[in-house]
Amino acid sequence: MQSINRHYNILDFAIASLLRRKGKNLALLTIYTLIVALIASLIFFVQALKREAAALLQDAPDIVVQRLMAGRQDLIGLENIDRIAAIRGVSEVTPRRWGYYYDPVFGANYTVMADAKLAPQAGMATVGLGVAKNQRIGPGDIFTLTAADNSLILLNLEKALPFESELLAADMILLNPADFGKLFAFPANAATDLAVTVANPREMVTIANKIVETVPGSRPIMKSEIIRTYDAIFDWRGGMMLLVLAAALLSFVIFAWDKATGLSAEERRETGILKSIGWETGDILLLKFWEGTAISLTAFLTGVIMAYIHVFFFSAPLFAAALKGWAVLYPAFHLKPFIDPYQLSTLFFLTVLPYTAATILPSWLAASADADSAMRS
């Protein structure tokens, strides 16, 4: 009990000491909290997005076959469908006709795809919610796209895809294959790429290798690679993570440097006075420990809470601006909350411990000095 009381008393003194330098410590706490909030937001956002991508793309095609021409992707001839379908283990080969359309009026890029199910008749279209919002159109409205021969194609908006599909199809325009062919002057005997379904997933690599042999100049992309792409995009070495981590690391270096280069004259005098009235070195270290903990633990807890609210309640508006870049369309989506205890504890050890340690070290040097010289310095 006596030991607990001692901690209480020292914590009282530590907080009173922090409050004496209210302005400086409040500024420190604010910046510290914001840095923790930024890193924690990034961790939450990236983890949740990775999980979302893995779940959404689990039904992606087993293999997508592209054709390369002079090192760049080119249209693939439909005659390759039969060649690939003849490979043992391939259960289905579907041509995908899709492309990009730049809307000069709204400055947006759309992904245009031919689909006879969602646009069963020529002149009909189904669009993603991002396109509908951007063009300010709703079901039943008519909109136009400029075809390859500069003529206008009139399209009747059949329906807009629901909100839940924004992360997949916010920028999509689904056209009837006839309209698609007219829009891009797309050759009838070609597709953008081929989606291959494989009967046994364990044979995927073998089949991909056979496709390369059967269709010279082709490039198969397997589902595992597609899913892994989204793991890699937000890898810690990625631009976004690296930028934020580097900024945060630099901030901590500045904190630590500020602390480790020594105490202010006032703090040094305070240490001297405490020693002269009978405080032991251990008491002073405990005082500094509580001062460091009070700041860093408060910053950590508040920062993590702010990050959770930012990412999962407000859909990370700060990152939206960074991800959007120069694009006009950006999907509105809600991420499923997820906390990775491992990453959160790493953040704790990277933020709370170094700061607390950096607070104690110079105090230990000052506290080991003679009280008289500490007061005079």
Binding site: L56, G130, A170
Partner: protein
Amino acid sequence: MALRNSGKYIAFTTASGLLMLSFALHAAFSGSITVSTTNRSLVKELHLTDLCLFTEARYTRHPSLADRHAPFQEHPTAFEHFPSGSLLLPQQKTTGSLNAKY
């Protein structure tokens, strides 16, 4: 009796800790991601391969289908000029020799 500074601090930290714990529980009880029927059928029917996150350039809209050096395809010495291009890592190829040449 007025609360001591230490009492106020402990009360604040406990409240923050409890709030964090409630968030952890909120996340845990949100369950695993269930893909809606709409999204599942969209991916299956249209054979979708990518998320619609970055729509500013071809290789950022469909990073899984883009070439490894897609940003430089505009010109052999072209600089990357889309902001999201600097956020994306080059595509990781894992099938060894199969895609090594790309």
